[in-house]
Every structure is written in C-alpha cells, then in structure tokens.
Point group: D2
Chain length 392, copies 4
Amino acid sequence: MTIEASPSASSAGPVRLGMVGGGQGAFIGAVHRIAARLDGEFQLVAGALSSDPERARLSALELGIAPERAYTSYEGMARAESTRRDGIEAVAIVTPNHVHFPVAKAFLECGVHVICDKPLTSTLEDAYALADLAKSSGRLFVLTHNYTGYPMIRQAREMIAAGAIGTIRVVQAEYAQAWLTTKVEDTGSKQAGWRTDPAKSGAGGAIGDIGTHAFNLASFVTGLDLDQVAADLTAFVPGRRLDDNVHVLMRFAGGAKGMLWASQVAPGNENGLRLRVYGDRGGLEWAQEDPNYLWFTPHGEPKRLITRGGDGAGAAANRVTRVPFGHPEGYLEGFATIYAEAARAIRAARTGAPVDPAVVYPTVEDGVKGMEFIDAAVRSSAADGAWTKVGR
Amino acid sequence: MTIEASPSASSAGPVRLGMVGGGQGAFIGAVHRIAARLDGEFQLVAGALSSDPERARLSALELGIAPERAYTSYEGMARAESTRRDGIEAVAIVTPNHVHFPVAKAFLECGVHVICDKPLTSTLEDAYALADLAKSSGRLFVLTHNYTGYPMIRQAREMIAAGAIGTIRVVQAEYAQAWLTTKVEDTGSKQAGWRTDPAKSGAGGAIGDIGTHAFNLASFVTGLDLDQVAADLTAFVPGRRLDDNVHVLMRFAGGAKGMLWASQVAPGNENGLRLRVYGDRGGLEWAQEDPNYLWFTPHGEPKRLITRGGDGAGAAANRVTRVPFGHPEGYLEGFATIYAEAARAIRAARTGAPVDPAVVYPTVEDGVKGMEFIDAAVRSSAADGAWTKVGR
Amino acid sequence: MTIEASPSASSAGPVRLGMVGGGQGAFIGAVHRIAARLDGEFQLVAGALSSDPERARLSALELGIAPERAYTSYEGMARAESTRRDGIEAVAIVTPNHVHFPVAKAFLECGVHVICDKPLTSTLEDAYALADLAKSSGRLFVLTHNYTGYPMIRQAREMIAAGAIGTIRVVQAEYAQAWLTTKVEDTGSKQAGWRTDPAKSGAGGAIGDIGTHAFNLASFVTGLDLDQVAADLTAFVPGRRLDDNVHVLMRFAGGAKGMLWASQVAPGNENGLRLRVYGDRGGLEWAQEDPNYLWFTPHGEPKRLITRGGDGAGAAANRVTRVPFGHPEGYLEGFATIYAEAARAIRAARTGAPVDPAVVYPTVEDGVKGMEFIDAAVRSSAADGAWTKVGR
Amino acid sequence: MTIEASPSASSAGPVRLGMVGGGQGAFIGAVHRIAARLDGEFQLVAGALSSDPERARLSALELGIAPERAYTSYEGMARAESTRRDGIEAVAIVTPNHVHFPVAKAFLECGVHVICDKPLTSTLEDAYALADLAKSSGRLFVLTHNYTGYPMIRQAREMIAAGAIGTIRVVQAEYAQAWLTTKVEDTGSKQAGWRTDPAKSGAGGAIGDIGTHAFNLASFVTGLDLDQVAADLTAFVPGRRLDDNVHVLMRFAGGAKGMLWASQVAPGNENGLRLRVYGDRGGLEWAQEDPNYLWFTPHGEPKRLITRGGDGAGAAANRVTRVPFGHPEGYLEGFATIYAEAARAIRAARTGAPVDPAVVYPTVEDGVKGMEFIDAAVRSSAADGAWTKVGR
C-alpha cells in the first residue's frame, strides 16, 4: 500500500463557490455540496438555490450562506458576484438539463469557472454553442461525470493506455436501474418528473440521464472515439414520453465494437453501471456498486483482483485515493475527486501556473460528445436502428 | 428442502444407446456418455465412434462396447442395429454440425430415437428437412441444449409462466468465452478447427456454437417468440473465417426487446452464459458458472436468492434436483437431466404410454428455431445490421 | 486449459460393487450410487440395502440387482458374495455410524475391499480396532471424506506442499448448516433422528457429522497434524441430546493454530464448508458451495482466482477434472472422484501392480484421526474447554 | 427508497473542533478531519497536531488553522482554548493509545467534549479512571468505533432488537488483515511501530487494534453482554512483541456463544471485519469491505439481500443514509456518521435540550467494555486459554 498525499493539499485557501439549483429537497445539489466539502477545497458562499424566493432563502440559511448572497435569480447572482472583491470563483450548476446552458453562459460571460452537472445541455445545438463559449471565455468548464473519479476507473484507464490488455476489440457498457419501472412521474416525484419531460430533459430520457454516463465512462477508460451507433430506444411504461430503456450497438474508430444498455425499468438493479473491456491480450471488468474492485484478466493467466489502494494499484489510482485498502470509498468520494481536480485546476488558474498533467476531469468537450451520442442514438432509433454517424 | 424422487426411478431396464462420433480425444462425446450414465437410465451398447476404423475400434474397446457393435460407418450401424433384436433404441449424435443431418436421417429412417448435439444442422435447409423427417418418423428427437437442464433454469421458467415478474419487457442474454482470443485453429486444435470452418460449422461461428445456446435459453425461460434481429457479427482475430463476436439486438413478438452478446474473444470469461429477464413486476438473473443460484427481484422488495433445493425452489426445479441444497450440482448434472428426460419419453414410447407432462426437453423444433436465429443474424449482419425477420 | 484424460480410462472392466444400507428414501446411499456410476468404473451387483426385508427387496429390484443378490443381512451377504466366482470386489457401507464397524469387519474378513461413509465408527475404540483389522486384512479401506475429491482442494493441497504460501500459521475451518435450527428430530425425519441419537451417532453430534469433514479437509489440504484442541460443544435446541454447534480452538504440531466452527443451527447456511489457510508468504481460501474457485493470495501481490481447469490449475487438480473451465463440477463429481481413485487402487490390487502414486483417497487412518478429533473435542468440552491432547 | 433528511440539518452553526495528534503523515488524523468535514457539522479551529513543534506548525498551516491556535502541547491547548470566548467545544484525540488518557483528562477537566479514537486507553486502570472522570465531568465522550456508523450495521441492530432473528445463539466475529505478515515494524513504519510496542499500545496488539473493533461491533449489533472468554493470543512473526493473531471463544450472558478471530498476518485480507449472527429464527451477515449489503436469512425462507437505502432498509439505517441505493457509501461516510451523531449531541448540550433518542454513538462505557475484553483475553491466554470472566 502506498497512498499518495491527500488530494486536499494546498496552502492557498479554499475556492469560493456558488451554486445554482440544489435547494431543499433536491438530490444532486446535496451531493455536490458534500463533494465540494469533503476534501476541504471549496467554501460555499453564494447561491441561487431555487427559483422560488422563499425556498431559495431558507435553503441558503440552512447552508450558512450570508443572506445578501442568497439570490433569487442566476442572472442577478452572476452580475453581483462578479463585482464583489470576494466574489465566487466557480459556480456549480445543478439544475435540470435545459437550464444548464443559460446559467453556464451567464457565469462564463462574467468570468466565473463552471462546474456543471451532466448531460451538458438539453439540445445538441446548445451544446455546440456552449462549447464555443467556454473555449472563448478562457474559463474552466468541469462536467461532473462523477464516475470518472473512482480510483479503479483511473486504474483501468491507466492500464489500457499502457497496453495491459492490448488492442481493444469489445466494449460492453451498461447502466441498469429499476426506479422508473412504474409510472413514478405521475406520483408527484420531482426527480422523475423532469427526467421524463422532453421540455426539460431534451430528446433523450434514460439515454440522457444514465446512458451518457455509461458512454462517457467507456470513452474515458478506453480512449476510443465512437464512430457510429445503431439504437433501439423504448418507452416501456405506458404513457411515458421519453425512452426508459436503451439498446445501442456501437462501432468505434479503429474497429472496436460494443454494446450499451441503459434501462430504468430493470427491477433489482439499483445503480448498475458496469463496464467490461476486452482486448487481444486481456480484459478489465468494473461495476459501480462495488467500486473498489477491478478485475484484470490477462489472457492465459489466472484472473486478478486489483483493489483500491492495494498491491496492484498504480499511480493514477493512488493519487485520488484517500484511505487504505479495505476501507471502502464510495460514490461521494468519487464525486469529490472531480471537485478536487477542479480545485487544482482553478488554483493553477489563479496564478496562471500550469496544471499538473496528472489532473483529469471531464470537460465541455466531453459534454459535447455525450450530446452527440444522445443525438445519434435518438436519430438512429427514429430511423429504425440504421447505423448513424456520431457527431459532425 | 423437498427433494423429489431420483430422476432414475424406473423398473423397466435402461435404454439401449448407440453413439455416432465421440471417439478418443473428443470432448462432447465423453460428456454425453457421463450424462447418459449418471442416472443409470442408459446403457451404451453400440457405436460408430470415429471415421477412422482403428480409432473407432479402440474407442469402443475402451468403452466396453462389444467388438461386433463397434461400427466404422453410421450407415452400417443404423442398418445393423435396426435388425438386431437387442438393437439400440436411441442414438446420440456428437459429430461436427454438418454431419448431424445425414446421421439423424439414417437412424430416424431405421426407427431409432435421436439425441443430437446442437446446433441442429449446418444449414437452415437441412434443418427444415430434418424437422419434417423427424415429425413423419414418429421417433423422438432430443436436442441437447443442455443448459435447459439446470434446476434453476427450470425454476426461472416456472416462475415466469406463473407471472412472478409480470409482463416481460427486457431480455439480456450473453455468452462470453475467451478461448479463441488468439488464432487457436492454427495450432492444431481439433475443437477450434471445425468450429471456425464454414464447411463444417455452417455460416455462423460463435453465433452457432454459443449464440444459439444463449438464444435457446432465453426462449426456454421466457417462452417468448423472437420476431426480428439486428446483428453485427465480427471476426476479430485476423484471418479467422467465421465470426468470433456477435452483437444482436432482438425484438420479440408482443413487444419485449433484448440484447444478445456472444463472444469467444473475451479474455477472463470461461463459459459465461448469463441470462437476465425483466418484467413489469420483477426480474430474474442467472449465470451458468454459478448455476445453483437464481436471483429473484420483485419490484419494490429486497432481492431474494433462490437456491437449488432451497426454500424458494418449486416443483419444476425440484423434480430435476438430485442432491440437497448447498451440495452444488453442475454442468454434467444439467446435461444428464436432458438424458433423463429423454429416457422418460423413450420408456413411455416403448409402451405407447403418455409422457408425464412435466417432462421437458429441447426438440427438433427448437433446433429449427436456433437455425432460423443463426440465419437471420447472419443475413442482418450482411445487410449492415438491418432489422431482419426471423424464420419463415 | 489442459484437461487430463478422463478418470475412467481402464480396459479391465468395472469393479463389482455391493452396498450395505442405502435403501429407498436414504440420501447418502443414492449419492454413493451416482458417484460409483458417474465414471463407469463400478457395477452395483449386490446389496443388503435395508434391514427391512421387503424394503431391501424392492430397493434392489429398482436398482437392477438380481433377486438372489438382494440380501436381508450384511453377514449373509458377506458370506455368500465371498464364495461366488463373480462375487463383489468392494462393498460400500452407507449405514448410520454405529453399524460401520461390524459391517466393515464382516467384509474385510471375507476379503472384500471396503468403501465406508464417515465418520469411521461411533466410538474411538471401534475405530482403533477397525484400523488394526483393515491393516491386517490386506484389503483396501476407502473412507468417503468426499470433499477431498474436489479439484480445487487437490490444487490447494498441491500448492501448499510446493510452498506457495510458505510456512502455515493460521487455519480457519468452518462448516455451517441451518437444517437443525428447530427440533427436526421430533418431526419424523430419519436423517435428523439418527444424527441426534448418541446410540447411533456416538458421543458427537455436529462435530461427528460435519465437524469431522472440516477437520479432515483442513488436514488433507495443509498436511498438518493436530496436536491439541480446546472445545465448546453446545446443544442449542432445547431437548437435543447431542451438540448442534461446535467451537474449537486448534493447535497443530509445528506451531500453526486454528479455529473450527461447525454448526447445524445457523440459518441461511446450506452446506457452508469453508477453509482458509494462511502462511508467511500467502493465503488460500475455498468454499464448498462454490467449489470451482480457489483464491490464492500471495502476500504483496493482487489476489488471484484460480479456477478448475483454468490457467492456474496444476497437475493434481487436472487429473481429477472432467470438463473444461467454466463448466462447473459439483458435489457429485467430487464424490465420484473418491470412487474413481478407489477403482484405480482396486484394479491395481487385482494384479498386484503398484498404485499410481498420484492416486489419493482418505483411508482408515484418516478415519481414526477423525475419531480422535471427535473424542478430544468431546473430552475438552466436558473439561470446560481445557486444552486436550488429540490421539494416543 | 425513502432517504431521510441529510444528517447535517441544523441552523445553529458548526461545532468548533480542536485536534490532538494527527499531524502530517498520520493516517487516522486525516480520516477524522474528513469525517468531521463531510456533513458540514464541524469546523476545525485549533490543534496540537504533533509533539514536534515545527511539524505541528506546518500541519496547522496546511489545515487553515490560525497560527495562534496551533499549539505544541495539549495541556497548553486545553488551557488556552477553555479561556477563549470562541474556544473549541470538542476535541478529537487521535494519538497512540497510551496518550488517550492524559489528553482526555486535560480537556474534560477544562469542560471540553471529547471525541477519542479507540481503544479507550492502554491499560484497564486508565479506562476505569477515565470513565469515572467522564461521568463526573458532565461532558460528552464519544469513542470512534466508526464501524457502528455504517447504515447496514444500524439496520442489523434494529432488526435484532425487533426480534427478526429471534433469540441469539451464535455470534461469529472476525477481523482479518494482512499488513503485519512480515516484520513491518522494523522497516520504519510509524503505524506498525507503535501498534507493536507494548509501551504505546498496552498489553494487546491485534486484539487491541482490531479485535476491539470486532468485539464492539458484535456488542453494538447484538446488544449482548460478554460474560467469559477463552483466548489464544499469538505473535507469529518472530521477534514481534505483541500478538498479531487472536483466537477467542466467547460466552455471552443469557447463553449465546461465539468466536472472534482477529489477525494481522492473514495474507489476502485487507480490512476484513465481518459479523455473522444467528438466532433461533434467522441470521444476519455483514462484511465491512462491502458495507452496503446486509444478508438477512429468515429460517425456512429464501435469503434476502437488504441494501443501504433499498426497499428493506428501516428507520435506523435511513436516518444515517446520505445518498440513494446503489450509490455506495463507504468507510468515510460511516466514520462521518459518528461525528454527525456527536454534533447532534453537542448541539443539544449547548442549550440543554434533550438529545434525539435515535442518536447513537459509542461512549466511554463502550470503551471500558473494550478494555475489559482486551484484559480478559490477555489474561485467559496467559492462563493457557482458561475461561476468564470479563470485567469486574
């Protein structure tokens, strides 16, 4: 066991953070806050936490945000914070998908770094526009594809880059959940409501909500570019307006092939994100619900179980590992690693210093790729599963 | 635990069995013999075990077959045995695929029941012809899709038929192996040789060798009819003449959808046949390598692990269970159950008595469906994955 | 994968086998018959299957034993068979414990090899006497500690002997079951009845029924000699006459230490025999319910999963392996291996040829050690857990 | 899924925390800080982080502690902080065992609540004295037996209290690690150094370091009182001064029995804390390395897998659950729950309000019981394993 220094190491004070969305009752906002807090790298000092003024005020109070920095609109917040000497350096956007674009735009234009939940936007056009904006802004854009923060995912990526499994042939990605097996959106669930509403989610349901995570993870780990998809999107629950089950065949540049299954109607599956990659020399298998383990199966040798912090773990995993082997890290730690990486980049940006090349996080470009994936899958499915080129 | 009476119970003497193929060095022939022997229901008394006369003779000697019943051709064996008063009642065909048809034809025409390895034939035309022949012969035709013999597969089938998971929506089938990751067919492996030779295997490689098993299992368990497939078949190993990786999207009559992945180039996978079925009320998950367990996941309740012989096991599983819970049964027991079921049917046929309706085994019709699946997948892949109707 | 020739290879005809006990309704008798049949090495030709004459007759009829060889007493059977030219060569004894001794004695004195269920006898005195008798008889004595027949147990034994885990320090053995959680012996269960009756089982309940299996397995795999035990035997179910839960501390010659837990009142445990061995260079872990896997954990390296027939499996495992990796073998196959090993020894004995040194099976001496273990544990528990010397 | 409100909910500002020990390079100090930070309930404002002044200063600087509150002695810190208006309300003690007592004493006497790492002290006498002191001080004493913070442990405790498994019969606890397999204390490891030094750890090695965790967990979950132990403590590594392997038989008040195994020389085991409890109606099984799962095995029914946040989880688990099912929580979250519970109690103490009866954390009394357990085991082992009464 060799655990690297804590990811929190820095002498220059925490990053001042604001948040848009994430008021009382929201799930992902609370997760972002814990993630920001866990390594002590951020301080939440401002927020437009709800479009409902009273809810915004109460949520801010509960979080210890000063009353004058509890905003009721993101536009107002962007303007006000960008003129304060102690204004926020970064904003976390944790709204439904269709709001990501205008909020991000507002803050980028005010010179604030953006940490944005996924998927990037609700339309591909917005995604392209946002990417252009982000690039020209000179600000950082961090997309919280949080599963890339797991140490064993870093390990898999490092091993593949080093050739441990040879040339990749087959990529099997899946993300199975059960929670939309019945028509939950009719029961008043806010979570289910916007996720199944095309106006808020965009053209994709399960494919946008969880399919993009699986796609992003496969891309992050393998380094492959997706070329074409053939998709069959289905809304199994009667009356549902967006897909709740997604079957996709994939062809990657260079000849690798794969499958992606995303479902929110698979009883018994809680948050079953799983990735299996096979090359001509070996394979790797990982499952999000048991994230501290990575199976490495060199062809012709016994299977090996690589554990977080354990004897087979390498540099890329160890630099984002907080506690020793056998002391499981989970979802929040992986999420926090995205924030910790963002903090490293933001601190470098403070002084214009170069970012440590080991720092990795998903960017606006990964967000564009995710939107291109959704777009191509939706179009393929509409064309009865015809192979469809991904991206421009 | 309530274990039913041993499957071997019968007072009328074992079934007289012959075998074609399966001489020294063959894998599946030895498996069939153990399966036939395990419950004491069969006695191997004749064989055309090899096309090589000396090998045929030695193989028979080793197996205790009388020299005069060690044949060098299946035609001669069919003729001779059908004229003996103590001639064989059934023949086990364990040759490469392309020989199944002529051998089965020869014996059916001589009034001998047939137990045949899968896939049924090497061409769809042969399959249709054989099915017609089998039906008109009045003889039994048992196809050894052995995985249907596992108790927990019987359990899953019974539960689905009883509505335990409601209306089926999603079927995820897979069969992953590693053993053809390199070009083993060039190293003298007889097993790899014929499986990758279109003249002996037919138009499908992995899809015929293992994909049909996965398809058959999904059909057996769900009772669904496959309507259309969209397939992407690949030969990843340079120079290989048949597919070694198969990605198939499936649409079933009635609206269920699914995926099937079969691969022989997935390092780390030994014999990874796995089935997951999700309905609107629950799910079931099973893996061949750990066959004594069945996950049952009723929606909205904790997951339950049903075990072979255990408290949740029902009649269909218990009637093919030999030893109590916790004493694992495996591949050979499942295979033997196909033989035991065949014996029950053959014994009933001796006297014209009706077969116990609980007796289940794959038939020539299942074999035709398997060939139609291969055919449709091969055609779909040739048409760049276009959705292709399965069967006539 | 290198699978050795089938264990059944032999040209000299099957071993003629008789059976005492195991009539209709018996569990272990049916298991012995399948085990004897599986590899085609034995032919069951005689039996004293029940002390009830009618049940003995019907059981024999069902098994295809000739009426004149269906005996109603083991003494009669021993006399009659030993004078037939085609008399049995070996007898399988599958009665309750207290009958093992007189039956074995009768057959050994008639020159018949003995295959006997465990534990060896119901008293230590009988065990010593039987061992003397077996030695002086010149006949083979095979004790069916069947778990030693699992390939991965052979693998573990071979690896330890080769020093793969260094000098052994800690041995953790356990055997947990649930089936006696309630007072089943009062419900008419024949299985539970004799196992909880001191007159039939001897002084030990769970310790004799399953504790000896765990002890035998630990001894077989490690090669260590047990020196002392400190035991706490309990009958948790009110009114039960023998222990149903066993806690034992162990000290082995040479300094290794261990624990053994055997319980028949542990709900959720079906047949949970499990062995973990740790040395100064590595560890091994195995569980009977998933017998095709062996964890090998060399200190300072990632864990490796060795699979039956897989890349890490060695000669000792492969010679008792029937089917390739990923095609699970189970309880019956392991049991059959004990019979296959016995057949090899018996065939060698036919001609006086030396037995292949690779042949391994538990003997009367292992049976004596098992009885000494029971005896020492019972005495230690009676002495409030005082450390008690094992054996003479 | 019904996830309760975040444990962080409070309007009264974070608890002001100090820390003794835990300077740069320390493991457990960093863990305590993350745990304190995760829910936003504490603010670290002072510290005596190292006995080395320069290291103390640098450690404090890195953690954002004001220079004037970076102390070089705990005595000075206790005095200074207790006179500040904004002085610390609680101190976290993360030193080696032998320093726990004087530090805790100093702060309790100054009216500061104590959060102390385990085991409580290095001698039983100190433990008794500290318990008296704590009680008379009127301050809170929280012992960080962190594993009691896992939601599935809370679930197990609640189920047992509600009678889900009936009357407890058997408790199997174990805690296996590998990291002291070789003589690491000779390689300069600070962690290994003090843990194997009787002057710093006390009379117990593995039994104090990890055995107490296993004992505490068993007590917490079952609610049973330990009556007697029979122990065999061993130092397997040549030259080691304290036990590195512990075998203990246990007798609980009321008749339940158990085993406890703790080892630091078990290669392949990372942090293998595991608890299995069996009653006359069912069983429960949990393993720390996969903490989001709890097996519940009602006798005579299929096994059920209860998951954190899932359908079978109850109130006690859900109130300490942060993220939904399938999003794994780990070691840090469990540890943070101890801090969150402490914060709730401290906040109540601020105003004298009653503490929510659902709040649970290990106290000084649990620490005394842990020390009595160590003491009795050490004495039993010295008396060759004689059954030894636990406690006064």
